[in-house]
């Protein structure tokens, strides 16, 4: 276990700035998730921590020691790769035991540790197989076993579940969470899947264009997004974002009339989550009144999309909600619903 500190770390490829100067501290034993869309610099950041990419400027400290110039093998880390990175010419047992072999463990000690680790990820019966004879989920577990066969200072996981099918992903997610609880090793996890980020992380760093735009607990990221990017990126379906103006304590936009406690201003974006809206009869008083545009049954609920002029608002209704498309409906915020206001130009929270 160790604390990881990035101090003014920057990464350039020639003249291209991949990760602009920034600092980040990952606490000992923490599960930090780097979350962001493709190409936002999260993998580059992780690879710099791993030592697979050189750091252009700044300092990287692991356990209080500056490791900028240390090769990956001397950083005492373990990593799970997106594409597994298994050794195809070795058996499952040899794959898992390779880090131990490199550290001079004798055959007996190695076999015992490999067997123990393989049991943990339910690979006990597959030890003699080669990676090519395994399914995607099994390969993923071999990669995971290879990482946890020793107790490194730091785990790095680069989208480890992205190649698995939806069902297996949920199972493996729970296994990862349990493993972190059991081993307590500091973990940095890269993903573009917000569900993984929300369920696994102690803290989430949301990244955009190489920069961390918000670093907080999953709960705060969800309930207090710092800007429009985070607000629109987190949540499925995403937060409703309505362009409008505030005058005399009321937010107005096509079809919307909602009292807010904020000073008058133009060019403002109101954000409200679909699950914090209630469907009400069209003739009642509503935040938003519009024509029913689409109905999507997800199983446990129905996603209801209303449209009025340029404004589109989505709400989560009961699974039994049904109405013909084109019907006029209205939505009101639930009691205690959070309204988020953002400046349209800067995107920052008001």
């Amino acid at each position: 276990m160790a604390e990881v500190k990035l101090v003014d770390v920057e990464k350039r490829y020639g003249s291209f700035l991949a990760v602009p100067k920034q600092s980040l501290t990952i606490e000992e034993g923490e599960f930090l998730v780097l979350l962001g869309p493709s190409g936002c610099g999260k993998t580059t950041t992780m690879r710099m921590i791993a030592g697979l990419e050189e750091i252009t400027a700044g300092d990287l400290m692991i356990g209080g020691e500056r490791v900028n110039d240390k090769p990956p093998k001397d950083r005492d880390i373990a990593m799970v790769f997106q594409n597994y990175g298994l050794y195809p010419h070795m058996t499952v047992a040899e794959n898992i035991g390779y880090p131990l072999k490199l550290r001079g463990f004798n055959r007996q000690a190695r076999e015992a540790r490999v067997a123990e680790t393989a049991e943990k990820v339910e690979l006990g019966k597959l030890l003699k197989r080669r990676p090519s004879e395994l399914s995607g989920g099994q390969r993923q577990r071999v990669a995971l076993a290879r990482a946890i066969v020793r107790t490194p200072k730091l785990f790095l996981m680069d989208e480890p579940l992205s190649n698995l099918d939806a069902k297996l992903r949920v199972t493996m997610r729970a296994e990862l969470k349990h493993l972190h609880h059991e081993l307590g090793v500091t973990t940095v996890y890269v993903t573009h899947d917000q569900m993984e980020a929300m369920t696994l992380a102690s803290r989430v760093a949301v990244m955009r264009k190489g920069r961390i735009v918000q670093l907080d607990t999953p709960k705060m990221i969800y309930s207090e997004p710092a800007n429009l990017f985070v607000a629109s990126f987190i949540g499925s379906p995403p937060m409703n974002l309505i362009d409008g103006v505030i005058s005399q304590g009321t937010f107005t936009a096509p079809g919307v009339n909602l009292p807010v406690s904020a000073a008058d201003r133009g060019n403002v974006v109101l954000g409200i989550r679909p699950e914090e809206l209630d469907l009400v009869p069209a003739d009642g008083e509503g935040l938003f009144s519009g024509l029913l545009y689409a109905l999507e049954l997800t199983g446990e609920s129905t996603l209801v999309t209303l449209r009025e002029g340029t404004t589109v608002v989505c709400a989560r209704g009961g699974a039994d909600f049904d109405a013909p498309i084109g019907t006029r409906c209205a939505l009101v915020p639930k009691a205690g619903a959070r309204l988020h206001l953002f400046d349209k130009d800067s995107g920052e929270r008001v």
Binding site: L52, P72, K73, G85, L86, Y87, P88, R130, R139, N163
Partner: protein, 271 residues
């Protein structure tokens, strides 16, 4: 109907090409077992004999010495060229160094130089060094010929190997050299094997340099063949027997490792 016609046409064409390619080889094998008077006859009915093989291994032909020379030169060249080329190919494939492309081009460009152009300087150089008619001279020359080729070949194979497994090994605690030994070379095994064979065949068949740089002590098999063109005419039966001795090792080698060519080692490494 059209499909049947195509099927037969394809087979007929393949058969024709095979016949054209294989006929001289077949003829050489037959001639190797013929007596001198049968060598010029086109009849397939003759009494086979092994006397040609006995003759080529005895005085004055002494094919045995040439076999030793050829094996020594080819094996040593392979043993030096392939490991060196593998390291070079790995570096070219993985390290983004300034001038990398130019350097790679420079190495490859040595292959564009016709051998005839440099043979005289080589001759003078080895004469000055006192290395004429030695196996060392042949090994040095062959290394210069095959190494760029093997680098180029292996680079292609290494380029095709995903870097994930290598990076995993680096993080698991392996040094760069260990990564090459434990991960890259086993994964590139079919490529290394192919390069080794090509390297061996090129050196084994090399004629021009061996002809100019050797006289008596370091003569290799291909040069030895020329000695069967004597004042009494071409000794086809002996030349064929020597030809068989040259081709058989290559045939056997190709047969033994043929299956490795096609078997990819990268299956299962990544998704």
């Amino acid at each position: 109907m059209k499909r049947i016609f195509l099927w037969w046409g394809e087979r007929a064409l393949l058969l024709l090409v095979s016949c054209i390619v294989l006929f001289p080889i077949l003829w050489m094998f037959l001639t190797a077992f013929k007596r001198p008077r049968d060598a010029y006859s086109i009849s397939l009915h003759f009494k086979p004999t092994l006397s040609n093989f006995v003759t080529v291994f005895s005085d004055p032909w002494n094919l045995g010495e040439m076999v030793v020379n050829s094996v020594t030169v080819a094996a040593t060249t392979v043993l030096i060229a392939v490991p060196c080329a593998a390291l070079a190919a790995y570096s070219f494939s993985r390290f983004r160094v300034r001038g990398r492309k130019f350097l790679f081009f420079l190495i490859l460009s040595t292959q564009f130089i016709p051998a005839v152009v440099i043979i005289l300087p080589f001759f003078l150089m080895f004469r000055t060094l006192g290395l004429l008619d030695t196996r060392i001279a042949l090994i040095v020359v062959n290394l210069a010929i095959v190494t760029p080729f093997v680098i180029w070949m292996l680079k292609g194979f290494i380029d095709a190997i995903p870097t994930d497994s290598e990076e995993a090994a680096l993080i698991d605690g392996a040094s760069r050299f260990r990564v090459i030994r434990d991960i890259v070379l086993p994964m590139a095994a079919p490529g290394v094997l192919t390069a080794t064979i090509f390297c061996f065949i090129l050196t084994w068949n090399e004629f021009l340099f061996a002809l100019i740089l050797t006289r008596r002590n370091a003569v290799t098999l291909p040069v030895g063949l020329v000695s069967f063109r004597t004042e009494q005419g071409d000794l086809w039966n002996l030349m064929s027997a020597a030809g068989v001795m040259i081709t058989v090792p290559i045939f056997i080698m190709a047969l033994l490792i043929q299956k490795h060519f096609t078997r990819g080692m990268t299956a299962g490494a990544v998704k």
